[in-house]
Structures are given as C-alpha cells and as structure tokens.
C-alpha cells in the first residue's frame, strides 16, 4: 500500500529525473539546449566588449609597450623598413618604365635598343660579388652580438668596435642625427651597413656590387631582422651568438642552405 502510494507520488519526478539524466548523458541533447545559451552570451559579449573591457585591455597594452619598448621597436623597425623599401622600389620602377617609354617614343631609333653596355655593367659582370662577413653589432657599445664569415679573419670584436667608432665619428663629425652611415668602400671591398634601433648589421662584400644586388641584399637584411631578431638586443649573449652564427651563415654566407622562410 505504502509502495503504491510512493509510486503514485514520485512517478512524475522519477520520469523527469530520468529525462534529465538522459539529456545530461547525451551529447547531442545537451548541445541542443546549451548552445543557444552560449551563443547568446557570446553575442552579448561581442556587442558589449568595447564598453566593458576596452579600458582594461588598453591599460594592459600600454603597460606592456612601456615595459618592452625596445623589443617592440626592434620588431617594428625592420617591417617598416621593408614597407618603405617596397614602396620606393615600386615608385622607382614605375618612374623608370615611364622614362624608358618616353625615350622609346621620342627617339624611335634603333640606337636605344642596341645600346652599348656601360663600363660599370661590364665590371660588375666580370667580378661577381660575394658576402664574406656578416656582423650584428650593438649601436652604442660596438660590441659584437653575432657574426659569420666565409673564412677566418682578424679579430671580429676589434672590427665591430672600430666600425662602430668610425660610424660614430662620421655621424658626430657631420652633426647629422637624422642620418646614419650606410657603407664604406675600399678598393674591391665594400662594407654595407643597415641600421636598426639598437643594433646594426654590417656586410663585408668582396667584388663589385650592382645597384640591383645592393637592393636585394638590403631587402634580405630587413627580412632577416624581421624574422630572426625580435629581441631586445643590448648585451652580447653567448647562446644568442651561437644561434646567430648558424642563421647568418644560412642567410648570407651560404644562402642555398636556407630552407624555411
């Protein structure tokens, strides 16, 4: 009798409980019920995020930027360089094309199409250039942060120091704070310098180098910096130095070794 009474009283509850258990244990059933709620919340978050969280996020970004200012500049600097370089290259190319087109139209002569090669072009072809040394040098201290070379040369720390001293002297002597030394030429050698925020990269190139090659190397340096030098580079670090030696060799000394770009 008591059992019957209990059955009668609890029947509905038991059914509801079984149904609830079924929903909880069946993924599809649960998803059907929960997903609309989550979606609703996500939509609400998406719509109200700026009002609720933007100041918190902004504060965090500001803090991070202040703490890692040098690191951020080191990341942005080469990327900005690539953009500016691409823009200038494309403008110059367009200007050259327009100029050539004008010359072709006005002259209508075979002279231009059969022009002689300039002496500079012949010299460049006869002595191909080769990157023999690469250095990453701290702007301020002149200490060597990384290097690679195709042969053993004189002390690299000394070269880095002297190069920085020459650079500092030239920049100081001409009192031009907005311009920096970009290269040194001596005989059949050239030292190409690419400046970044707190370091610079110098390439020692043997042989004659054409403007196009110079352009390509400059672009390669920017790519290298953007990809490999996203650090706050101030002090020399032996682990970093060892890593850079391999990377610099792959990029500049034996470029065929580059695998992943």
């Amino acid at each position: 009798m008591l059992e019957q009474l209990r059955e009668a009283l609890l029947k509905e509850d038991r059914q509801a409980l079984a149904e609830l258990r079924h929903i909880l244990n069946t993924r599809e059933e649960l998803e059907d019920r929960i997903n609309p709620i989550i979606e609703e919340h996500l939509l609400e978050l998406e719509q109200n995020f700026p009002n609720t969280y933007v100041s918190v996020v902004q504060k965090l970004i500001d803090q991070r930027m202040k703490q890692k200012q040098d690191e951020l500049i080191n990341i942005i600097y080469p990327r900005l360089g690539i953009m500016v370089r691409k823009y200038i290259s494309s403008e110059v190319r367009m200007w050259m094309e327009r100029l050539q087109e004008n010359i072709r139209r006005t002259s209508r002569s075979v002279f231009w199409s059969r022009r002689r090669r300039s002496a500079a072009e012949i010299i460049v072809d006869s002595s191909p250039s080769k990157v023999e040394e690469v250095y990453i040098i701290s702007h301020e201290s002149g200490l060597l942060l990384g290097s690679a070379s195709s042969a053993e040369t004189v002390d690299k720390d000394m070269i880095a120091g002297m190069l920085t001293a020459i650079k500092a002297f030239v920049e100081d002597a001409f009192k031009r704070t907005d311009e920096e030394l970009q290269g040194i030429r001596y005989g059949g050698y050239e030292i190409m310098v690419q400046n970044f925020f707190n370091y610079y990269i110098a390439l020692a190139i043997a042989g004659s180098i054409s403007e196009q090659e110079r352009d390509e190397l400059a672009e390669k340096i920017l790519l290298f910096a953007a990809k490999e030098l996203n650090y706050d580079l101030q002090e020399p670090n032996p682990i970093f130095y060892a890593k850079m030696k391999t990377q610099l060799e792959a990029y500049f000394i034996s470029p065929s070794k580059i695998t992943a770009q």
């Binding site: 702007h139 201290s141 200490l143 002390d155 120091g161 001293a165 020459i166 100081d172």
Partner: protein, 165 residues
C-alpha cells in the same frame, strides 16, 4: 663568455695608449705618437676561472671630456680616466670631467689612474693622492700596476654589485 666595453680617456699625452699597449701586448714605445680618433682592441682576462673579454677603446686625448664624441662613451661598462702625475694640468679638470662622464653614463664603473709613476717622487705622489684620490698609480713604462688595474676592472664587472666609484 662575457664581453664588456672599457673606455680609456683623459687629457692628451697622459699615456692612455701606452697603458693600452702595455696591457694588450705588453709593449712600451718611448716615442709619442698621438692617437687619431680611437683605437679598439680586446683582451681576455680570467678571474676565479671565469673568463671576461675586455673590449678596450683607447680614445684620442682631449683637454675636456665634453669634447670627446659622446657616442664613444655609450655602452661602456667601465671608464679609465688617466692623468699624468708629472703634469698637474692633466688633473686640474678631473672633477668636472668625471661629473660629465657620469651624466653620460650614470652607473658606469670609473677608475681614476695617475700614470707615469716612474717620473715622480714619493712626496709628489702623496700630494697628488691628497688632491685626486686615484684608484691606481701606474707606470706604463715599467708596467707597474697596469695588470692590477685591468684585473680589478674585470673583477668588478663580473660582480657588478660593487660601488662604481
């Protein structure tokens, strides 16, 4: 291995390059050849089995440190301010010069060095010590205290908690 930049500076003719040569190559030249711009070389020093590479910048002498290109000092971990014990004019501006260096490099390790010790008497040394309180009296000619000076700097740079002055 750790690398640190050390700058040797001071009035002209005080023996900066002689100290540099004595430390780097253990040589001394009686002829005076003025330094043009700057010379850079390095030497490894071992302190308690720890190696440190001292990259030394030997600057051309100037009457006042304010005339030295500021960029030569940047990034230096230590400054050796050299004066000539036999020429008082070379340490008459010592305080001003050190003050200037400290404005360029606030926490840099500075060593005041009275050079040409072999040219002055003990009495003169006592007098100069009272005026300038140098860290070292050296003689690039005889090599006296030169190694000690650079080893002291290397040790201080390896344990940077020590007092810069």
């Amino acid at each position: 291995m750790i690398s640190k930049k050390v700058v040797i500076t001071g009035h002209f003719g005080v023996g900066k390059t002689s100290l540099f040569n004595r430390f780097i190559s253990n040589t001394f030249n009686e002829k005076y050849l003025t330094t043009i711009g700057v010379r850079v070389d390095k030497k490894m020093v071992t302190i308690d089995q720890q190696e440190i590479s001292l990259v030394i910048w030997d600057l051309a002498g100037e009457v006042s440190q304010e005339k030295v290109p500021r960029s030569y000092f940047l990034g230096a971990s230590a400054i050796i301010y050299v004066f000539d014990l036999s020429r008082p004019a070379t340490f008459s501006r010592l305080q001003d010069d050190l003050q200037y260096i400290q404005t360029v490099l606030p926490n840099v390790l500075i060593r005041k060095v009275g050079n040409k010790k072999d040219l002055v008497s003990d009495e003169t040394l006592q007098n100069i010590y009272g005026q300038t309180t140098p860290h070292y009296f050296t003689s690039a000619r005889t090599g006296e205290n030169v190694e000690d000076l650079f080893h002291n700097i290397a040790r201080a740079l390896l344990s940077p908690t020590s007092d810069p002055l």
